[in-house]
Symmetry: D2
Subunit: 346 residues, 4 copies
């Protein structure tokens, strides 16, 4: 931590800062510059110190130099983390494809979709039973019956299942059915929920909040990891910007950034990331070209009849085309699609 | 709802859209323009229709013309809502001041602050027992003992209490102690939590999410109102923008906007809205000049020792100065500060 | 400037950084922390150094501690700057009101508006002769004939004139007619133009760019000041955010920020800042409550017939109401409206 | 254009809107909905009408349904535009690579870089002679001598040259030396400059402004096209968002969006788009996977000695690696790198 003094701050003010640092059991290194004095703080810094030093007389700015996240940081954990689900390894050389409807609507819809995406090469089945909805008047998912359908179709088709959990009181329920617990963007800073999914020990996928910085996202990840659960992956799904053409702006650059600063696998969701089905294929290809460990896409038998997010869902034919192009791009960057034919324990 | 067809879309495509609209029991009004055809949809529109029509061949865009929020809308509820707390009316001619420490730290800190802010004219005591924290390693509040301190100090000093509730499982607990339940920015779209606080029937203050549009905020309010709880007020606390000088950018314009589009009272929180104590006074004055029904500010006996958000807390002297200037500005816009000397039932 | 080394960087990497710093004629202060090594750079730092050090092996981050702006900074120029125009002082105790039509359309429109705003207490007449327009198909101003009308009406009504200059090739022309040269938001980083208006020695008002940080804005101001022209004021006119209800989000907090970090006067433009006439009055009041030295508002005899930006223009009656409320708020914060009855040299 | 009336607006208000529409020589289609009345405007709408109608009594909102851009729109110009430079076609099946130093610093630096990038397969040489700089104290380019070096190196190495023009007064000068005139992000709405480069008839590359929406960008393109110059391409170079890890957030999704809504070629600049050299390769690959017609990257013999933007420049070795991976990704999406060995007329 570095304390930057104001231009013209005097000996008394510098002494005040030094005294406060030392009274916290830390060391102060004073360095007199041409314009200003800088005071380095050395020792085991506690988080509240920053705000405290900022308030002292003569202080212009306090700059933190260590990263506030540790467990999710590559500096402290250089080797890649991999997440294991139903015989598949996420975060290695293979690229996983999670596909399925936005919301589970009926047995037929789910079963038909699961069969189609598996036939086209998907590795994991996605489908929402509890759906966050901006408006209380919109479809909010089937709830537990939706979970039961997921479990049933998983068995019939042989694909592990990822589904969202929205509330800490539902973690136990959802964890009984799901192979991967998904935390949605709106819940990225629902800290109780993060701790609850951490405690399950089950694989977790943490979506980035709509306006979360990389640092905030990794601190949210830290809540899960701090519970001893390292089966964690991140998922970019678009951020909020001034652009209105798309629902969100998908931040592809965060993929190589996460790879650099963290050891956690990174997935990309171009369906939510763009909100428009005709952008899903190019953005899925871009994500894999940029280094993503997998993609998550919405597929629906009849997008124009979908109860949720039809405009961003692929048809079976579109999904088939995506998989064929994705295979080529994956190979162009030295990777390959995960083999979906591995057995899933029911 | 209006369907805008692509330039050059033909009779067949128009007929397809009309057919879909009619099959949903609605009427279609086709209007041929110079460049494009527009199709108006008349009838009881259901929310999923928008996405469905967007997918049809020849459609360029679907535009919603009715507002998705109803209960919070001034169009459907022209008269101002007022919230009643401990003999005070929020949303009328009087301006309320909610003041206190960011986090409850100790009996002494809370009691001393409560006495100081009451003496200076505050109407409501704020203080966090459960604190959201970006990092799992920071101070996260005293929990229930913090609530007990709030209740005790409320009795001793005679100020109603507002405090945050972060999880649906804690609503009952917090509601036992608090006069107003606060929903924080990070939980603005925690829909389960919104419904739970709605069910209590207690006054609720809903903070705007960091990247929430006016429409999303009012839809979140709709979740509370839909439970039959009309004792609801909104609170602007800064939005996320590209500017890094401040922690957030406080959106003063949303105050007159809310007044125009909604009947709910609107409070401003310049402490979180700016993150810097020296901006709190000018921004509090600006908020009241722009029409805010109240302000919420953080006050601490020793901001440089605060366990949370010291850099944005006012000292007692600063708060005293704020109240004096606020009085003048309130009167300049034809309002007055609420009288804090009303008895609070313990 | 501070160089933060990566966790685990070794002696060789530290020596490399020290060597580079010393080879640039500067001193390096190495400080070994618990986690990382930090190297302070002391001496006359040149701007390219930051990028150069960032590239060296073992470097995690380079942090600049001195502000890149000097001439516009309050640290180096503690006393307030005032701008003098036609007997009026901007940046002192008095608050100036610049009012008039967005675009000059005709002699009658301009004359009628000038008389009305002067009668209501405006101090300066605004009106665009050269208008930036997002679309090439929209009205782009009368050009030189517009300037002539401004000069003529200035003489008849007795108000100094502010008008925009959009291109360095037109600076001389516009400077012949205008009392204050306005640089629009889209040109905030048109560096040639900034230098040209700097050279005229005339008062300049520099609007903030739509996505300009405080630092970038002050660096743009630096281009004008570096030409020896200190008759400079800044103008907040809304920034671009995710919110779509308003055209821009007016950043009221930047008013006290500029007052803190700079000595230049700060004006607020709620017409462009919001894009909606019914938000202009509350936002003008808020700006003055927050410490603005003046406001700029659009007024039109018939906003519903305006060729440009009618939706954000006040009628004469609205403007009259604004002035009356503004007077009260100005006095509430210890200031007063500038007296407009001072003679203007024609 | 559609006028949405307020809930509860009456016959008199509707009649007022209809009258105004008809008095402008247009037709009004009134459509009575369940909640509100909607009035469609049919005929040759002029741009000022929107603001005028918004002001009328009873009007809630005016919605434009035709796109304001025409010449750049794919709806009105379905076939792809291609730009021809020195025997190369941009916007067809081949992908062009523009590479070179951020700023021209010396003959040796430019010549060495040009030879290295040509050897690695670049098709066009980039290099700035006039450099926009946020601060007046930073390096701002060599000016005309820089242009002369570009011309000389072009001859010696045989690569066409792209360079930025910053001011309308320098268009003629720069056009004498450059094969492609680049308009930088800060000048995207410098309308005089856009018209001047339009008039030259030379190929133009228009970068997206830091906070420009797709629509504003295409309207800026319209300024060039309206001069009869169709040799125009667009370039994404990162937008401003809340994220601070990168200098900008590169919007890869705008690549397929431009392809959908416009016929103009689209180039991606991952050097400015990210500001960090280690993100350039993954983002260049992502851009091509998403459909970009070319990329522009900064290459420097010694990035750690660069006078400008060293931190985002590739070394020769990095560039070589990029070209090899780019070739694979281009082929994976059915395209190929442009052949650089074509002769350039000097």
């Amino acid at each position: 931590m570095i304390v930057v003094m104001k231009v013209g701050s005097g000996d008394k003010e510098i002494a005040g800062v030094v005294k406060r640092i030392e009274s916290a059991g830390l060391k102060a290194h004073v360095s007199q510059g041409v314009e200003r004095t800088i005071i380095g703080v050395v020792g085991q810094i506690f988080p509240e110190l920053e705000g405290m030093l900022e308030m002292l007389s003569g202080v212009d700015e306090v700059i933190r130099v260590s990263k506030p996240y540790k467990l999710s940081s590559r500096e402290f954990h250089p080797l890649d983390t991999t997440v294991k689900v139903g015989g598949i390894t996420i975060g290695g050389k293979e690229i996983v494809v999670m596909a399925g409807p936005c919301a589970v609507e009926s047995e037929q819809q789910l079963l038909e979709t699961a069969r189609a995406v598996k036939a086209a090469g998907a590795t994991i089945l996605r489908g929402g039973a509890f759906k966050p909805s901006t408006s209380p008047y919109h479809f909010r998912g089937l709830g537990e019956p939706g979970l039961e359908l997921l479990a049933q179709v998983k068995k019939e088709v042989g694909l592990p299942v990822i589904t969202e959990v929205m509330s800490s009181s539902e973690v136990e329920l959802v964890a009984r059915y799901a192979d991967i617990l998904q935390i949605g963007a709106r819940n990225m800073q629902n800290f109780n929920l993060l701790e609850e999914v951490g405690k399950t020990g089950k694989p977790v996928m943490l979506k980035r909040g709509l306006s979360a910085t990389v640092q905030e996202w990794l601190l949210a990840a830290e809540y899960v990891l701090a519970q001893g659960n390292e089966q964690l992956m991140l998922c970019e799904r678009g951020i909020r910007t001034f652009e209105t053409y798309t629902r969100n702006t998908m931040d592809i650059s965060v993929i190589p950034i996460i790879e650099k600063v963290s050891h956690l696998p990174i997935i990309a969701d171009p369906s939510h990331g763009t909100g428009k089905w005709y952008l899903v294929i190019p953005m899925a290809l871009a994500a894999v070209a940029a280094g993503a460990d997998g993609i998550m896409v919405e597929v629906h038998p009849n997008p124009d009849l979908a109860l949720k997010d039809g405009a961003q869902s692929l048809t079976f034919a579109n999904f088939h085309q995506l998989m064929s192009q994705l295979k080529s791009v994956a190979e162009a960057v030295g990777r390959r699609l995960a083999n979906p034919s591995i057995k899933v324990k029911s």
